[in-house]
Each structure stands twice: as C-alpha cells, then as structure tokens.
C-alpha cells in the first residue's frame, strides 16, 4: 500500500522524539490548567518551531495538540473544572467517579479512551487524506476559492452564538491577512507606513494577542488566588481487561463521531464531545448511570476529542483548509517553513506528509506513556494559583513574540490585540474564526483574483464547472440551513 511504504527512519530521529516529548509535556500541563488550554500551548510553542527542521517542529505542535486534549480531562475529573472546552462533557461523569469511586480509575479511563481516539483519528488521517488529496487535484482556482469560502462559512456559522458577529470575525481575520506587500503586484497594503508590517502582521503576535494575552486578562477577572483542592492520593490506578472491554463500545462511538466531526471545519472537539456523550448514552445498556460517574460517560467524549484532532488534519493536509484554531496555528508553522498544505504537498513534501501521518500515531503513544507515568505530577500543577500562572505566562508570551522576529513593534501589537480581543470575546465575537480566516486569507484572495483575471472579471467562472457548481450549492445549503435554524429558534423563543 502506498501509504505504508514510507521510510520510518526519518521519523524516529532523536530530534523528532525529543520534540514529541516536549510537546506532550507542554500540552498536558497547559491542557490541565483551566483557562490556558491547547490553543495557547500550541501558539506559545510556534516560535520554537522556526529553529527546528519542519517535521520536528510540526510533530512538536501535533504532540501538544494531542496531549492538550487529554490534559483537559485531568482538571475536569479532579476538580470538576474542564481544562479545555473539549473536556466539558467529561466533567459530568469524570468528576462524580473521582469523588465517589476513584480519581485514578477515572483518569485511566480518560487516558485509555483518549489514546484509542487518537490512534483512530490517526488512521482516518492516513486513509482518508490521500484519496481526498487525489480528488482535489481536479480543482482549479475557482474551486479552491469556493472551498476556502465553505471553510470560513462553516467556521463562522458553527463557532459562535451570534452568527453576524462570527461573520464579522471572519472578515476581520481576512483583513488582517491582506496587510503587507501584495504577492501579485508588490504594492503595500494597509501598512500605515510601518516597515514592520510590510511582511504582514506577525502570526505569532496575532496568535499570542488573540489567544494568550486576552485569556490572561480573563483569568485575572475570574480570580487570582483560587486554590484548587483535589484527592491526590489515589491517582495511580489501572484498569482490568474486563473494565476495558466494558468501555469498548462508547470508545468506538466517540472515536467515530470525533473523527467525522473533526473533518468538518468549525465543529471540532468542543461539539464532538457532547455529540459523542449523547449518542453513547442512547446506545448504552445502562443509560441511567450517565451523570453519576459512568465509565462510558468518560470514554465517549474523551475518545471523541482526540479523534477529532486527527480528523481536523484531513481537510488541512488534503485541501489546505484548517478546521480549528489549533490546526490554523499548525498551518502557520507550515507557511513559515515555506510549505503550502493542500494536494500539492503530497508530491512536493512526501517525506514530511508521511512523517506527519505516522508521527501523529507516535504522538498518541507518547501521550499514553507520559500520561501513565506523569499524570499524578500534572495533577499537582493544578494547585498553582492564577497569581503565579498569569505573571509567568505573560513573560513567556513576550519571549515567544520577540523570539519570532526580534521586533519590539510586535510586542506592542500583541498587547493591543490582546486588549481588543479581551473586549471582543466578552461581546461574543468568535476568536477562532479570526485566526482561521487570517491563515486562509492568502489562499482565498489569490484564487479569487486568479479566477477573475482568467474570466476577465466575470463571476460566471465560479459556476462554470461541475465541482464549482456543487461547491456553490453547498454554500447556499449551509446559508439556508443557518437562516432556517435562526428563524426556528426565534419562533421557539417568541411568546404565543
């Protein structure tokens, strides 16, 4: 099989393994700490990848992404506070099991199902990406433009409660992506005379401002000296074969749902965990146990959020469309190494792509091993109050931004962006949409302009081929469904 014919020696280098280990450790700590989460961990590690070979850097970010998904369940189970939005459903059964039965057992269920979900997501990535990329080779500029629009539209329609504000977020992200020298004409755009903006807005400054600095300000609002208390004495507990067999069905349900929803841009692990939880309770032999510390209620959402990580990489690698904020940051690492994801990358960077395929499975194994050995240590990190975390992470943010370009301008920019997005987040603007739109902006604009130049300015080119017609129909379908859903919700809210 073509997929299996890759030389694995390139993958198992000391640099790659150390990067996976570092990413796993950072991802697990940041995932476990409520408020910080996976996206901030990936954003802060992005500048570190510039000095690394592309595969090592990208594997480090993937390991962070994977481990962060599991790390979120540590605080969900021990404290009843999800470390990440993807671990929100885990609280329902994870925390009661930790309180009533055994915190170690609850964590073991979470780690096992997260690992199975991660492996399943990795297999989906390997076996779906290649045929999808081959199919995408039929696409031209109009289809790529329309694909980008579909990606943005689904993210905008699914990522926030207020659809108009989500669409504004998308437009803001696209605008940010147009700043700098135009690649086609060499004209500088919206730089306001700042030479630091000629290359565009620094991705690291934008990411750290949007995700980290704004989140640190939110953490200050939530309380600076909250001390968490948990049962740290019974964390080392394994599972018997019978117990593993008992959760096989919900784990598979979660893995299937997670991988499926991960492939669709904008849905991701946050929604997948709830969907998996609901479906697993429906197919359970003991639905009454859900909500009271059911092992099935832990394994379904936990397998789904890790499987969604693998699923989200499918449209990213095959089509160049990132489905989540974390994948958008990983796309940033690609772009900074001069690699453009999409069907062309399978031929141009074959070793890298296959290294990512198998490396993703290795990151899951690393997550399992590190989780088995060090979960009790990560659990103890939870006692660090926000007063220390906010100060230290703020300094790490400044270091990360400066290390990326050595420009003080970027530090000021990130601070301003952090304040702006702290306010915008409170008003329910979608921050994920901004960053996904930012990384997609060059692809969308380039293909849009190329298409119109080919057709002498006629928009007919976007409905001239069978694939483009299909994509336009999908856009209208998504818009119609969203408008219909909005009208229905409004009718349900209106009094008779």
């Amino acid at each position: 099989m073509e997929t299996l014919g890759h030389d694995l020696i390139n993958l198992f280098t000391i640099t790659n393994m150390l990067c996976i280990l570092l990413g796993t450790l950072v991802g697990m700590v940041f995932g476990a700490l409520p408020g910080l989460g996976t996206v901030i961990a990936v954003a802060l590690l992005l500048p570190v990848t510039f000095t690394l070979p592309p595969l090592a850097g990208i594997l480090m970010l993937l390991a962070t992404y994977q481990a962060g998904e599991y790390g979120g369940s540590i605080s969900a189970i021990l404290l009843g506070v999800p470390g990440t939005p993807q671990a929100a459903a885990t609280v329902i059964d994870g925390h009661p099991m930790a309180m009533n039965d055994s915190p170690g057992k609850a964590l073991s269920y979470s780690l096992l199902s997260s690992s199975v979900g991660g492996i399943f997501g990795g297999l989906v990535l390997i076996f779906v990406s290649v045929p999808l990329a081959k199919f995408a080779l039929n696409f031209g500029s109009p289809e790529y433009f329309l694909l980008g629009v579909i990606g943005l539209l689904t993210v905008a329609l699914l990522s926030g409660r207020d659809k108009i504000k989500s669409m504004i977020s998308v437009v803001l992200g696209l605008m940010a992506g147009t700043v700098g020298v135009d690649a086609l004409t060499g004209v500088d755009r919206a730089t306001f005379g700042q030479p630091e903006l000629m290359d565009g807005i620094n991705l690291v400054a934008l990411l750290v401002g949007i995700f980290a600095i704004s989140e640190l300000l939110s953490m200050i609002s939530k309380g600076l000296n909250i001390s968490y208390v948990a049962d740290y004495d019974r964390l080392k507990t394994g599972l018997t074969i019978e117990e593993m067999k008992g959760v096989a069905k919900p784990t598979m349900i979660g893995s299937l749902i997670g991988a499926g929803t991960g492939i669709l841009p904008g849905i991701g692990g946050g929604a997948a965990c709830w969907f998996a939880y609901a479906v697993a309770s429906k197919f359970s032999k003991n639905p009454g146990a859900f909500g009271r510390g059911s092992a099935e209620g832990i394994t379904a959402p936990e397998s789904s959020n890790n499987a969604s990580a693998g699923g989200a990489l499918v449209p990213f690698l095959a089509l160049g469309i990132p489905g989540s904020a974390a994948v958008a940051i990983i796309m940033g690492a690609f772009v900074m190494h001069g690699i453009q994801p999409g069907p062309g990358v399978f031929a141009a960077e074959r070793d890298l792509v296959y290294g990512i395929f198998y490396g993703f499975i290795v990151t899951t194994v690393a997550m399992y091993l590190v989780g088995r050995l060090l979960t009790p240590m990560f659990a103890r990190v939870l006692v660090v109050p926000n007063s220390f975390l906010v100060a230290i992470v703020l300094v790490l943010c400044l270091i990360g931004i400066y290390a990326s370009k050595a420009a003080f301008f970027d530090l000021w920019l990130a601070l301003a962006i952090g304040v702006l997005f702290y306010i915008l987040k409170r008003l329910e603007y979608s921050v994920s949409s901004v960053i996904i739109a930012y990384v997609l902006a060059p692809i969308i604009e380039e293909n849009f302009r190329r298409s119109l130049n080919l057709s002498n300015g006629s928009y007919d080119i976007f409905v001239s081929g069978p694939y483009s017609i299909l994509l336009v129909m999908m856009i209208f379908g998504a818009l119609t469904a969203s408008i219909h859903g909005g009208i229905k919700r409004r009718q349900n809210l209106e009094p008779y």
Binding site: I168, T178, R189, A190, T191, S221, L394, V395, A403
Partner: protein, 155 residues
C-alpha cells in the same frame, strides 16, 4: 457603561475601522489598479472585505438598538479591573524599558516580582513582595538557563 453601549461603541469602531482600511488600501494601491488586468488589482478583494465589514457592523448596530432584552441594559462589570489595568500598565512599562535600555533579564525580574506582589496583595504587602521576589528570581534564572544558555537566544 451598559452592554448595549459597549456593543454600539465596538460596532461604530468597526465601521470606522472598515472605512479607514478601505481608504488606506485604495491610497497605496491606486497605481497598481490601472495596471491590473480586468480591474482585479490589489485593492479589489480588500474593498469587498471593507464593504462586508461595514455592512455587517451596521447590521449589529441596528440589532443592538432594536433589541429590547434586559441583559443589554445591564451594566458591564469587570471583576478585578484594577488588576487588569495594573497588568497592562506594567507590561507596557516593561516592553518600553526593554526597548529603550536593552536589558531583558532585569526587566523580566522586576516585571514578575511586581506582578506577583500585586496579585497577592491580599496576603500582606511584605509577604507578597517576598514571594514575588523569590519566585521572580527563580523564574528569571530558569528563563536565562533555557533561552539564554541552552537555546542561545539573545534578547
């Protein structure tokens, strides 16, 4: 300030931002427009974005003005707002000090010590300052060892 006022303020800022973005784009790209085929120059796509931003922001503005829900009439409250302002002021002062003096590690030490001392002020001034200084010294040393020595990044 109420949530409605804040929403209106942000929508207005976005409208103005969209307009100034369009002006800036068209000013810098005006020459290239004439040389581009079919009129699809560097300002074409940004102009569409500017129109979309202004239109969507106006819709949000009108929605806010017409929405009678009581939540929008409630006041915006920010818990620990004084700490947020202090964090931003200290961060800005640290960046400025670093930029103009070039001393990274002393700036990091002072920033960390002050932030931790302020955040833990409820435990007593001297005690929180002591905790701040000790934690800051340890963290600065760790940063120096990791970034300065191992990764050889010069700040």
């Amino acid at each position: 300030m109420t949530w409605r006022s804040l929403n209106i303020l942000i929508s207005t800022v976005l409208v103005l931002g969209g307009a100034s973005y369009a002006v800036a784009i068209n000013r810098s790209a005006s020459d290239a427009i004439f040389f581009s085929s079919a009129g699809i120059g560097p300002a074409y796509f940004p102009n569409i974005l500017a129109v979309l931003l202004v239109a969507l922001s106006v819709i949000t503005l009108v929605k806010n003005l017409r929405d009678p829900s009581p939540e929008l009439a409630s006041k915006v409250t920010t818990v620990n707002s004084i700490y947020i302002v202090a964090t931003l002021v200290l961060a800005a002062a640290a960046i400025a000090a670093w930029q103009f003096t070039g001393y990274f590690y002393p700036v990091v030490f002072i920033l960390l010590a002050l932030l931790i001392a302020i955040f833990r002020a409820e435990f007593g001034a001297m005690r929180s300052l002591g905790v701040g200084v000790v934690t800051s010294a340890a963290t600065t040393l760790f940063i120096y060892a990791l970034f300065g020595r191992i990764l050889q990044i010069s700040f």
